[in-house]
């Protein structure tokens, strides 16, 4: 237990080392980088119209800019809760959002366009009433379609909606004009409806508490507008993504194997995209490993408190706390716990997301490990404890040397199962925009608009990890079995 504490301490120091105080004031921008040309990832960096504008303004105002990627649903919340200074993510100005944050002057007037398949019967926007429509969750398209047309299918990002349309799962996709144009260019089987569904203004979101920043930002933005600089930036990135789309469209082949080969090249080799999977895998392993340690630490502690309370009637207060912990953790989804820990518990603290995930998954796993181990402790014959005590060992010594080792051996298969579940559960870390393995696949998908290869690759890697973990546990089990 002592070692675990030390390890945790080391971990905290390790991660907090990364966010030392800078001399220049810090400006944290949040975005969802799956929205070309406004924001997208290129060569492991977030680029696009929004990051470029904010970068220039930040530089002129004397800020050090840091950009964080997260789900679009969360960017407004991040600004509102003070986790970030500015949200720049192709955000449309709406009345609801105005209640939560302040908007800068709009920097772009954007249209919401409708994408359909080439062979679709839909010819104009009035025919959308009775077809299934895909949107990106939390976007203006989502709000507009929900209010004025019908309940849409909500996807976590735009490429996923387009992939669904392409696969025939839905009939139309409503998204902002610029990305819509890019998507259609890359997919010969898709087309745009001629007229726009609605018009929107894009602006940056800043916390209501930060009036100073808003004022300074607006002043710079207006200057850029006047000088034509703004227009040049927008044009530059529109051209760049359009060229990128042309480049991706070149990875098409006539034969089946030729197509497989070129898809593979596009998804993993080009621009060294496999790096997204490697980085994601490292984070997944890091999170799984450390949350496993935390889970085992918490699990053993809680299990011992609970069974001590059951057997001796002592520690009733701690037992109550443990029960509350178990009820809450096992009674709520791990995604919700992760989001609460990120946005509420560490809402006001700048903390590394990997550390947040380790804490969240560790606390979650601990509850399950605790009950597994408690089951193991209960399964050990009462005589074992009595033998230990009759030899003059204390309760703790008997637990540690006699009961727990036997219990651990008995529950190893169940524990192994929990570890496998944990490994796979970390895939929801993407909810706080953590670049884990699953998210790595998402990023590739958002660049290549191909669902098949990135998803299969991610699945194969998880499978390989689970198989390795299973065989390791099998070896451990066999080893412990020998000692009987």
């Amino acid at each position: 237990m002592k070692y675990l504490n030390l390890l945790l301490l080391a971990l905290v120091i390790l991660f907090s080392g990364g966010c030392k105080e800078e001399k220049k004031p810090h400006l944290l921008m949040v975005t969802n980088a799956t929205f070309p040309p406004y924001e997208y990832v290129e060569k492991q960096e977030i680029v696009g119209i929004d990051p470029e504008i904010v970068r220039i303004v930040a530089e002129r105002l004397g800020y050090v800019l840091e950009i964080k990627d997260m789900n679009f649903d969360s960017v407004i919340a991040a600004v509102q809760t003070g986790k970030a200074h500015i949200a720049a993510s192709g955000i449309t100005v709406t009345e609801e959002r105005k209640k939560q944050v302040n908007f800068t002057v709009p920097y772009v007037i954007a249209e919401q366009l409708v994408i359909v398949r080439k062979d679709s019967k839909i010819q104009n926007c009035s025919e959308l009433k009775n077809v299934s429509i895909g949107v990106q969750h939390g976007t203006t398209g989502d709000t507009y379609v929900t209010r004025n047309i019908r309940e849409p299918e909500r996807f976590s990002n735009a490429p996923l909606a387009v992939a669904a349309l392409n696969a025939g799962k839905i009939d139309a996709v409503v998204i902002d004009a610029e990305p819509a144009k890019v998507f259609v260019k890359q997919r010969p089987q898709l087309r745009l409806l001629p007229e726009a569904l609605t018009y929107e203004e894009y602006a940056f979101a800043i916390s209501k508490n930060n009036k100073v920043l808003l004022k300074k930002f607006n002043a710079e933005l207006l200057k850029m507008k006047k000088s034509g600089e703004l227009e040049r930036i927008i044009r530059h990135f529109k051209d760049a993504t359009s060229a990128g789309a042309d480049a991706n469209a070149a990875y098409v082949s006539d034969t089946f194997w030729g197509q497989v080969k070129s898809s593979f090249t596009l998804n993993f080799i080009k621009d060294r995209r496999y790096i997204y999977l490697v980085d994601g895998l490292l984070n997944t392993l890091l999170i799984t490993f450390f949350s496993l340690l935390i889970g085992i630490g918490i699990g053993f502690t809680v299990a011992i408190i609970r069974s001590t309370a059951d057997q001796t009637g002592k520690l009733q207060f701690l037992n109550l706390l443990c029960k509350v912990y178990l009820t809450i953790i096992r009674g709520t989804p791990v995604v919700v716990q992760l989001l609460i820990i990120y946005f509420v518990v560490f809402g006001a603290v700048d903390i590394d997301k990997v550390l947040v995930a380790i804490i969240a998954f560790g606390i979650n796993s601990g509850a399950y490990v605790a009950e597994i181990i408690r089951g193991g402790i209960m399964s050990i014959d009462k005589g074992q404890m009595e033998a230990g005590r009759s030899l003059g060992l204390s309760y703790i010594q008997s637990m540690r040397l006699i009961i727990v080792p036997q219990a651990f051996k008995n529950v190893l298969p169940a524990l192994g199962n929990e570890f496998i579940v944990l490994l796979k559960e970390t895939s929801v870390a993407g909810y706080i925009a953590l670049h884990d393995l699953t998210k790595g696949g998402d990023i590739i998908r958002s660049q290549t608009y191909d669902a098949f290869f990135p998803l299969i690759a991610v699945a194969v890697i998880y499978l390989a990890l689970v198989m390795m973990l299973s065989s390791l546990l099998g070896m451990l089990e066999k080893r412990l079995k020998r000692n009987e």
Binding site: D381, R389, S390, L391, G392, Q406, E484
Partner: protein, 244 residues
């Protein structure tokens, strides 16, 4: 007069709806071999388990040598290190080798160093002829071997008293002999022993003193001849006529 090891005064143990021990008072002297016998449910096992506080007495006092062990101030662990216990179901630690079973407690409680404990274990194992099994695990031993290891495990703590709780009841008949032989050797060596058992014949053979318990009380207390062979109490007479 030899030293009193256990002094029990008005010991009461109550369970919900049952009085297992009803004001039991008795002295056990150093070097005595005391057999506690009686019908099932008479409280003899509860009495034994109260002596090393595996059961918490509901009332009364127990003194071990000079100290009152029923007092809250008593360090139970230090006290128990001086009183060995042998269980009906052996309760060896299946996750440890035979040698580790024997050395673990003396080393953990710092009664001896690892080297000393190892030496003692080897000596004891040689004495009972199970030295070859020192690296085996309990699962690989017969019932009689297990019980002899359990006795050795208790002996390794160098206790003042050994408590036996029906040590042969879980054994196949052909295994009983080897355990009784070891117990007899210990008795001859002068070990203070309190034995709860149904082996009346064995009691006659080695007991200095027999306590007959009935309904949570001591119904008779005397030499084996007095209690077993010529009991005054008709109930005791009836009991022994059945078991002998």
């Amino acid at each position: 007069m030899s030293e009193v090891v256990f002094k029990v005064r008005d010991l009461v143990k109550e369970y919900p709806g049952l009085t297992a021990l009803d004001h039991v008072s008795v002295d056990i002297k150093r070097g005595e071999v005391v057999f506690v016998v009686g019908p099932s449910g008479s409280g003899k096992s509860t009495f034994l388990r109260c002596l090393n506080l595996l059961e918490t007495p509901s009332g009364g006092q127990i003194f071990f040598k000079e100290d009152e062990i029923t007092s809250d101030k008593m360090n139970v662990n230090t006290f128990r290190q001086q009183v060995g216990m042998v269980f009906q179901h052996f309760n060896l630690f299946p996750n440890m080798t035979i040698r580790k079973n024997i050395t673990m407690a003396p080393v953990t409680t710092k009664r001896s160093s690892a080297a000393e404990a190892g030496e003692t274990a080897d000596k004891l194992l040689r004495r009972i002829g199970l030295y070859e099994k020192r690296d085996a695990y309990p699962g690989q031993l017969s019932g009689g071997q297990k019980q002899r290891i359990a006795i050795v495990r208790a002996l390794a703590m160098n206790p003042d008293v050994l408590l036996f709780d029906e040590p042969t009841s879980a054994l196949d008949p052909e295994m009983v002999g080897e355990v009784l032989t070891l117990m007899k050797e210990l008795a001859n060596d002068g070990m203070t022993m309190i034995v709860v058992t149904h082996e009346i014949g064995f009691a006659l053979e080695i007991a200095d003193r027999v306590i007959f318990m009935d309904h949570g009380r001591i119904a008779a207390d005397g030499t084996p001849d007095e209690v077993i062979k010529n009991p005054e109490n008709p109930r005791i007479k009836e009991f022994f006529s059945k078991v002998l």
